[in-house]
């Protein structure tokens, strides 16, 4: 390829020209920035300005472009040059709009702009245009684990979209939980009557579909590889093993009902006390006729007990059993009560609930049941006894009295327990113990691997990380399919308690994400949240000390270890957050357009006034997802903050390598502030642990600071939300004040 040619384009529009000396900026770009082409333009983002740049790329063979104008978040359509590497020096939101007006500030304003141009050029010098992953993974088949309603829906949708699909079902027939149902709740208006499950029709479509292949009585013995190149071993009960290669995986392994035997206080285990599945079985047996109990007696009075062993802490604080609400049970009990009423309106059917939860159009289903004569009462059930004459003792919350009711049958609405496989924290502990030589741990691991659903060969464990209560759910509200194992998507009740309607909807969504994953992998593109990013981690193994920090800290389990314990990067699993780069003590990991050098060189490029100048310099490393936008918006609202700060956006605080901090302090910065997302249980970090890790790592550099004879306050880490556009300003100004208190860094002048 041709030699690199570097160009800087400086905009004097939006008032930049009035407040800044553009000539000086040009000189700096040329002399210090070593830019071969330097041009300024009164309105760089308009068609004509953009054309100049495109012409230079076309005619002058410019390969690297530094845009010194507005924030990298602005005018992205105009400044779109896919064939060259590009850096943005933020002179508008970052300087013009936040430095106090008036001549008094002209000098600091200019200094700030000068530095940003220096930094933009320095960064550019170290950048390469990312080429995308050369090792493209081209397999576009979709593997669906679990042949229930969710799995079948996902498979059919993927296949209908033209993607070959493989279903693995552990049972001898398809259908999963739905095979246990007499009917399902209605999906569409008028939401009045129980409906056929539609399973038969779905199974027929699956069977007839040319792109769908089904493995029954099978489970996954091993899953290796990455999106676009998974290899799975499918083991049949018989022991036979088939190999399949797929590009992405949908895990729809469903749930089991909470064990009724664990609810003795509600008559669990006694005769004629059944769970909802038990009632479905009776209904199937009755086949539309009178529903009879196990002992053959016709049911004339039935009581449904909602939230049985659920909502353990909810409003009503027992702390036992399942803490969550399974969502579907109210509608399911309504449906089941209708089984009785539709067959014989004289049957007494009472539903005892604490909050009747039938959202949306479920309200119509509730009304329909009332019209059929189903009685609903808000009650706290205190005791249930089974047997020939069942009795339900309860506190009637409306009539405010203790009461009891006789019934032929009691139905406990128990909750959904996800089948998500192995809990990774437990697994990690065991493997650690096993590495330590514990035989007990080794045996436990064998058992665990049997319990595993996916049996991933990943360094970080055999299954999807579980979010809470064993559900393999996303932590994100805006991104329900945000998964920590790229290319593997949970769908249905394994992800969150849900009914068939939600599960099938969820399955369709998961199928789309799987399709997206294979398409991205085939182009070497990153998946969400850095969608389309063509950069990927490059490692110089010769420098690696096998410290394993990258393999342990990668939030997405993208990095495995070979037998020599060298990291093995799986680019298609990688989400380009750079956490590995931040973790690496020997700095052998980098991205073409984002590396220890691209940031380090910016830090070093800053012109450092001497300690007598009374102009401190403070480095701010700001997360590009929340902190940097907040700073931008501070600019947008023209909120003034100190002109002594120099801000560098980072992909994630997890990517911050401590060398940057020491470099900054060594080169005379008086303070370093990191701005990252909220950490902890409700973390906001889009890369899960980045902010957490940064805090951790920074807590460890205290020693380094003392060695340098520096106060710990010179390095701080802050949690910042995207809405904090006023707070960031306070944080900055207060910190600058604090640094002024401390005095200038003693390191100045030593470099």
């Amino acid at each position: 390829m041709a030699d690199n040619k570097f160009a800087a384009y400086i905009c004097s529009g939006c008032g930049l020209g009035d407040k800044l000396d553009i000539k000086t900026l040009e000189k700096i770009a040329q002399k210090e920035g070593k830019m071969q082409v330097v041009k300024s333009h009164p309105f760089l983002c308009n068609a004509e300005g953009v054309q100049t740049i495109n012409d230079d790329i076309a005619n002058e063979a410019v390969t690297h472009v530094c845009i010194a104008a507005c924030s990298r978040r602005a005018k992205t359509e105009a400044f779109h040059f896919p064939t060259v590497a590009m850096s943005r020096a933020n002179l508008r939101e970052g300087v013009l709009w936040i430095v106090a007006a008036g001549e008094a500030h002209d000098e600091v304003r200019q200094e700030m702009a000068n530095d940003y141009v220096r930094m933009g050029c320095a960064e550019l010098k170290k950048m390469k245009l990312p080429a995308g992953n050369p090792d493209k993974a081209q397999n576009k088949r979709i593997l669906v684990v679990g042949g229930g309603m969710s799995g079948l829906t996902a498979a059919l949708d993927a296949a209908d979209a033209g993607y070959e699909t493989v279903i693995v079902e552990k049972q001898g027939q398809l259908g999963g939980w739905a095979t246990k149902l007499w009917k399902r709740v209605p999906f569409k208006a008028p939401y009045a009557e129980p409906q056929d499950t539609g399973l038969a029709a779905l199974v027929a479509k699956i069977a007839a579909h040319p792109l769908i292949k089904v493995h029954l009585n099978s489970s996954l013995a091993e899953t290796a590889g990455a999106p676009g190149r998974f290899t799975v071993k499918i083991a049949q009960e018989s022991g036979a093993v088939t190999d399949e290669t797929v590009g992405a995986i949908v895990q729809a392994t469903g749930f089991t009902g909470y064990d009724i035997a664990k609810l003795p206080e509600l008559g669990g285990g006694q005769a004629n006390v059944v769970d909802q599945a038990g009632l479905e079985a009776l209904a199937i047996a009755a086949n539309g006729g009178a529903i009879k109990r196990a002992d053959g007696k016709e049911v004339k009075a039935v009581v449904f007990v909602q939230c049985a062993g659920q909502r353990g802490h909810g409003g009503n604080g027992s702390g036992q059993h399942l803490e969550y609400c399974s969502g579907h049970c109210c509608a399911t009990s309504i449906k089941q009560a209708m089984y009785f009423k539709d067959q014989n309106p004289d049957i007494d059917t009472v539903v005892m609930y604490s909050d009747l939860r039938v959202p949306g159009m479920g309200e119509d289903f509730y009304r329909s049941a009332q019209e059929k004569g189903v009685i609903f009462t808000k009650a706290k059930v205190t005791a249930v006894s089974g047997g020939d004459a069942c009795k339900v003792g309860f506190k009637d919350l409306i009539l405010d009295e203790d009461s009891s009711i006789d019934a032929d049958l009691v139905v406990l609405a128990t909750g959904q327990v996800p089948s998500a496989g192995v809990e990774l924290d437990a697994w990690t502990e065991l493997t650690a113990a096993a590495d330590g030589g514990s035989d007990e741990a080794k045996q436990k691991i064998v058992v665990m691997n049997k319990a595993s659903v996916l049996n991933l060969t990943y360094r970080q464990g055999p299954d999807l990380p579980q979010f809470k209560y064993g559900f393999a759910d996303s932590h994100f509200i805006c991104f329900p399919y945000e998964t920590r194992r790229t290319g593997i998507y949970a769908a249905g009740p394994v992800r969150r308690p849900m009914d068939i309607l939600q599960a099938t909807e969820d399955a369709t969504g998961a199928a789309l994400k799987a399709i997206q994953a294979v398409e991205n992998a085939s182009l070497g593109r990153a998946a969400h949240p850095r969608s389309g990013d063509l950069s990927y981690p490059l490692v110089r193994l010769e420098g690696c000390t096998q410290c394993k920090r990258c393999t342990v800290e990668c939030p997405f389990g993208a990095i495995d270890e070979d037998e020599k314990r060298f990291p093995v990067f799986n680019e298609q699993r990688c989400r380009r957050c750079g956490t590995c780069m931040g973790a690496c003590p020997v700095r052998v990991i980098s991205f073409d357009n984002y590396s220890v050098d691209t940031v380090g060189s910016q830090i070093k490029a800053v012109d450092m006034p001497d300690e007598f100048s009374e102009r401190p310099r403070i480095l701010i490393l700001a997360c590009e997802n929340d902190a940097y936008p907040a700073l931008d918006m501070a600019g947008l609202s023209r909120t003034v903050y100190s002109a002594f700060v120099r801000i560098i956006p980072v992909r994630c605080l997890g990517s911050v390598n401590t060398i940057w901090i020491t470099d900054a302090l060594n080169s005379g910065f008086d303070g370093v502030m990191m701005m990252g997302c909220k950490k902890g249980d409700d973390y906001q970090c889009h890369f899960v642990k980045g902010s957490e890790l940064a805090h951790y790592r920074m807590s460890k550099i205290g020693d380094t600071l003392t060695q340098l004879g520096l106060e710990p306050e010179r390095v701080v880490t802050q949690e910042v939300a995207i809405t904090d556009n006023q707070r960031v300003v306070t944080l900055i100004n207060d910190y600058v004040a604090q640094i002024n208190e401390l005095g200038m860094s003693p390191m100045k002048g030593f470099n």
Partner: protein, 198 residues
């Protein structure tokens, strides 16, 4: 022992609009909307729950329904469009007719007198109605009440809005016979339907 549907079924079959009782979702708007709410031992919403719970004696023996002044506030606010006023009237009527309503409940007495008064002549005779009410508990207390009210009576008289001559008859229908026949027939049909013994 509760929540057997026998009483609910009885109400559905024999009480005006009784089939709507099951549609209540216990939000309590009716109870909060009634101008005489504080005077109700059981609010409508609670009565509906009691009916479902099978509390026949408590419900039919209650004087709560007689607190209803037919202001229709509950009806227009009920999110489930239950005709609450009518159900209260229906329950009162049912309790009254099967003799379970509280004896001497003043509104029960007045309402009965009112109906009898209006059916007598086809139109309400305000004077006889009033006097009748005053003397319902016997002469002595009657004289007291009437005396206590005389200023009003007198005022009405002076304002020509009360006619002492009405005591000897007053307004009435020409076709009183026909009117009585209609009322009798209607009552007969309803009694047959609801199994009342006249």
């Amino acid at each position: 022992m509760s929540y057997q549907n026998n009483f609910l079924k009885e109400v559905e079959e024999r009480v005006e609009e009784g089939h709507m009782v099951k549609m209540c979702m216990q939000c309590g708007v009716c109870a909060g909307s009634c101008p005489f709410g504080p005077d109700w031992e059981h609010s409508p919403q609670k009565i509906f729950m009691m009916i479902r719970a099978g509390k026949r004696e408590e419900v039919l023996g209650s004087d709560s329904m007689f607190m209803c002044t037919s202001c229709y506030n509950c009806i227009v606010r009920c999110p489930r469009e239950l005709p609450i006023t009518h159900i209260m009237h229906g329950l009162a009527n049912y309790a009254h007719r099967i003799g379970m309503a509280p004896k001497g409940q003043p509104t029960r007495v007045f309402a009965t007198m009112f109906w009898n008064n209006l059916t007598k002549k086809g139109r309400v005779n305000e004077l006889t109605l009033t006097l009748g009410l005053y003397f319902k508990d016997g002469l002595v207390s009657g004289i007291k009440t009437a005396f206590g009210m005389q200023s009003i009576g007198l005022g009405m008289l002076l304002a020509k809005r009360l006619n002492p001559m009405e005591i000897f008859g007053g307004h009435g229908l020409k076709d009183l016979k026909g009117f009585h026949a209609i009322v009798a027939k209607a009552k007969e049909i309803e009694d047959r339907k609801k199994g009342f013994t006249a």
